[in-house]
């Protein structure tokens, strides 16, 4: 898991007390908005079909007709990159969401199930945390099978153990808080306490963590596709496009370059916006 490192001096810097987000955040947010449009309604940005082949137009360098050039099958790389946003973003988002849900159950059960249950569940998380998320995802893909949904589940399982620890820690804090103690004292039933008090107060920090992890999930999903375990051809997923393009690097660099560039920009943008959201939620920005 990533640990938050905050330079203590930064709080004093005027830049960090500005009420408005900086240009990097704005630029990132703009890119994400554009990506969202691409994911929801790609035809607005690129009219053609991402899978229509035209062998006579294969390996054309970028020009006015084909902004990002064409690939080995004569498909327009720009169209594929635009349509690819849907797959890359949805694998990342769905995996993060699923990972959060798994972690929520895992962490809450651990926090509330007494010493023995807690120990078992958390040692399991530790064991899985010993494996890098990508490696864990690779193992899971063996079980789920390859493809977009298989890769999504794999990424979700890959990030869940780390989240579970955070959920447990947060739930522990909430459990010992005054209002929960009061609720117990008032005789409120346990399930109700969990639903009313523990859950809502645990979810907040988790959402911020999810936003930051989203970038990593997108790149893990793309990595699985790159390895041939995620989205399958002819799906215009960025990782899969990278694999296809690498055989043509010396001849047609644009096939691999543009999806790769989009992937990098997206992950950076998501992370920048995520960090900003985190900083806000921690009250480091006056607003």
């Amino acid at each position: 898991m990533t640990t938050e490192q905050v330079d203590p001096a930064s709080r004093q810097r005027p830049r960090f007390s500005r009420p408005l987000p900086g240009p990097a955040v704005l630029l990132s947010a703009a890119l994400l908005a554009l990506l969202l449009v691409a994911a929801v309604h790609p035809a607005l940005l690129a009219a053609g079909s991402p899978t229509d082949t035209d062998p006579l137009q294969a390996l054309q360098a970028p020009d006015a007709a084909h902004l990002f050039g064409t690939d080995q099958l004569g498909r327009d790389v720009f169209t594929r990159v635009v349509h690819g946003a849907r797959y890359s973003l949805s694998i990342g988002a769905a995996a993060t969401a699923a990972g959060l849900v798994i972690a929520l159950v895992w962490g809450l059960v651990a926090a509330l199930s007494g010493r023995f249950g807690d120990a078992v569940l958390m040692r399991a998380a530790d064991a899985l945390l010993a494996l890098p998320a990508l490696l864990l995802a690779l193992l899971v893909v063996l079980i789920t099978g390859k493809g977009v949904s298989g890769a999504t589940i794999a990424v979700a399982v890959g990030i869940a153990p780390g989240f579970a620890r955070v959920v447990r820690a947060q739930a522990m804090v909430v459990r010992r808080s005054g209002y929960v103690e009061s609720a117990i004292g008032l005789g409120v039933r346990r399930p109700l306490i969990v639903l009313r008090h523990v859950l809502p107060n645990t979810v907040g920090p988790l959402l911020v963590l999810g936003t930051i992890t989203l970038g990593a999930s997108i790149s893990t999903g793309a990595a699985l596709s790159y390895l041939g375990l995620g989205a399958q051809p002819p799906t215009p997923e960025w990782g899969a496009m990278l694999t296809e393009g690498q055989g043509f690097l010396h001849q047609a660099w644009w096939i691999a370059l543009f999806p790769g560039l989009m992937l990098v920009c997206t992950v950076v943008a998501v992370t920048v916006v995520g960090r900003h959201a985190q900083a806000r939620s921690e009250g480091r920005y006056a607003s």
């Binding site: 899978t51 229509d52 082949t53 062998p55 006579l56 294969a58 080995q72 099958l73 004569g74 498909r75 041939g228 399958q232 051809p233 002819p234 690498q246 055989g247 043509f248 690097l249 010396h250 001849q251």
Partner: protein, 545 residues
């Protein structure tokens, strides 16, 4: 490059026996003389695939045949141009009725384990191939109407067939019917097949250390003295050892070649050929692979393709010329027949140009067959079901398959490229007929490869590969006639009928003529491509850098 390079191999061929003799005498470490060219002792080759099974009697993989050729010799040798000559057998005789082959064996052949080649050893091999427990996927099929083998002298065997079987001599030259040391055959399939460390033959190289997923080493057989006449060399191989590295990723394999990590590399894809050819330190050998060209075999028994009109629509919807030209950058010719023109004496050239792409005809045929609806993505439907053609694929779908997929979409046909890296899963799918189409090529230096694909009894149970599920009395009759006829013209005429039938019935869609491109460093000499278009390392040697 200067013209001197072209003349170099011929010159070296003449002086080489002297050079190797000199090196041999100095091999104990006194160093090489300044005037004599030094030779590197190891050649490293990069291959695009790793065998799943190393037993050539079992495996149907072309790569197994290629990589076990240095270890196993055969009774007969097929020269790169297709003619047959003695190897482990010094001569052979065919009975007047064509049903019995008598082979006389060399008496000086010793296997790598020190045992001697004799008639009993050959019999042990044929018994191993035909033993149902061996579960042969190809070799047993090559034996056709095999009846049995008899030891008729210490160095003489008689092989009998139920009916005349002319293609047997060529079959006997393949690695699949290679002769192993009898003791090694008893070692069990684990050692022979999966581990590959149980390979004991009489070939110019002995099987050495093998690291799965990485490389296999072969060591020189210093006792080797029974090379076939046309092998381009005699005596022990010039290399002390041969290393084969498994590099499946094209870009990585080419990188290993261009950076000098390997001396030679198989399967240079068309789009990388210029990169290799433009490199002054590299050269390319190429050869059109004989046998069956890259072909789609349409499962004539599948629910979809049992309708001939749908098969014909699939056949005529694909703009093969344009795709082949684009994907292979104009380097490979398109195919018109399931047989490659380089297959000795069996190709039917009259099929050329007879079934050009015709999307309008394809549309008409699909309309007639009831595939009149269209779904949201533009694919044709019938009773709400999409027109889906399932193609199981082992490994990654090729650029070519994807181009065909894209082209078929224009005719409303969805080619589902069901890729899997699980060989067992793909194998059982094929065995059980759970597919509409299978795409592959199959190297063999004989037109009888057609029997392997179209004879009604060549089911997977009989080590055959009748992917199109053809069971046609006329086809069986032509193929039997071709196997029986002694006259090459009569054989060719019957194979021609089979080729035409396969096109007319749309049991096949031949696409392009598979071409093997082997890239090699200019430091490598006397490398040549054998009959199946794979490199032969026996005569090769490498200049020291």
């Amino acid at each position: 490059m200067p013209p001197s390079r072209a003349a170099l191999p011929a010159v070296l061929l003449l002086v080489l026996p002297l050079v190797t003799a000199a090196c041999g005498s100095e091999g104990s470490g006194s160093g090489t003389g300044a005037a004599k060219p030094r030779t590197a002792t190891t050649l490293t080759h990069a291959v695009e695939q790793e065998p799943d099974c190393w037993d050539p009697h079992v495996s149907a993989q072309d790569v197994t045949s290629f990589l076990q050729r240095p270890v196993y010799d055969s009774l007969v040798y097929q020269t790169p141009d297709g003619s047959l000559e003695p190897w482990l057998a010094t001569r052979w005789q065919v009975s007047p009725d064509g049903k019995e082959y008598t082979f006389t064996l060399r008496e000086d052949v010793v296997f790598h384990d020190g045992s001697k080649l004799d008639a009993a050893a050959v019999k042990a091999n044929f018994d191993h191939i035909t033993d149902p427990k061996t579960n042969s996927q190809y070799a047993a099929g090559l034996l056709g109407p095999y009846k049995g083998i008899k030891v008729s002298g210490p160095y003489e065997v008689k092989i009998e067939f139920e009916r005349p079987y002319v293609p047997f001599l060529q079959a006997a030259s393949t690695t699949a019917l290679g002769i192993a040391a009898p003791a090694s055959l008893a070692a069990g399939s684990d050692k022979l097949c999966a581990a590959g460390d149980g390979s004991v033959g009489s070939g110019p190289f002995k099987s050495g250390p093998y690291v799965r997923g990485q490389e296999r080493t072969y060591l020189k057989n210093p006792a080797y003295a029974w090379a076939p006449k046309s092998a381009g060399h005699a005596g022990p191989p010039r290399l002390d050892s041969l290393k084969v590295r498994f590099i499946t990723e094209d870009a990585t394999r080419i990188g290993a070649l261009t950076s000098g990590q390997v001396d030679t590399a198989s399967a240079i894809p068309a789009n990388q050929l210029t990169l290799v050819k433009d490199n002054p330190k590299l050269e390319v050998l190429d050869k059109q692979v004989p046998g069956a060209v890259n072909t789609f075999y349409l499962n004539t028994k599948s629910p979809l393709f049992s309708d001939r009109r749908v098969r014909q629509a699939f056949q005529r919807a694909i703009d093969i010329d344009t795709i082949v030209k684009s994907v292979f950058q104009g380097l490979y010719p398109r195919a018109w027949s399931v047989l490659s023109p380089t297959t000795p004496a069996s190709y039917d050239p009259t099929l050329e140009g007879t079934w050009p792409p015709d999307p309008a005809l394809a549309a008409k045929l699909l309309d007639e067959a009831g595939w009149t609806g269209r779904d949201a993505e533009g694919y044709r439907t019938k009773d709400g079901k999409r027109l889906t053609v399932v193609a199981p694929i082992y490994g990654k779908p090729s650029t070519f398959s994807q181009a065909v997929q894209g082209d078929l979409k224009k005719s409303g046909i969805y080619l589902q490229l069901a890729a899997s890296t699980d060989a067992i899963e793909v194998g059982s799918r094929l065995d059980e007929g759970r597919y509409d189409v299978v795409e592959l090529s199959w190297a063999r230096g004989d037109g009888d490869i057609l029997s392997h694909f179209f004879f009604s009894d060549q089911t997977s149970k009989n080590s055959g590969h009748n992917f199109a599920q053809v069971a046609d009395p006329e086809m069986d009759q032509w193929l039997t006639a071709a196997q029986t006829a002694q006259d090459p013209a009569e054989r060719a005429a019957n194979y021609a009928k089979a080729q035409r039938w396969a096109i007319d019935q749309a049991a096949v869609v031949p696409t392009y003529i598979d071409t093997q491109n082997v890239g090699f460093s200019t430091r490598v000499h006397d490398l040549r491509l054998g009959i199946s278009a794979h490199p032969e390392f026996y005569a090769a040697w490498v200049e020291a850098p």
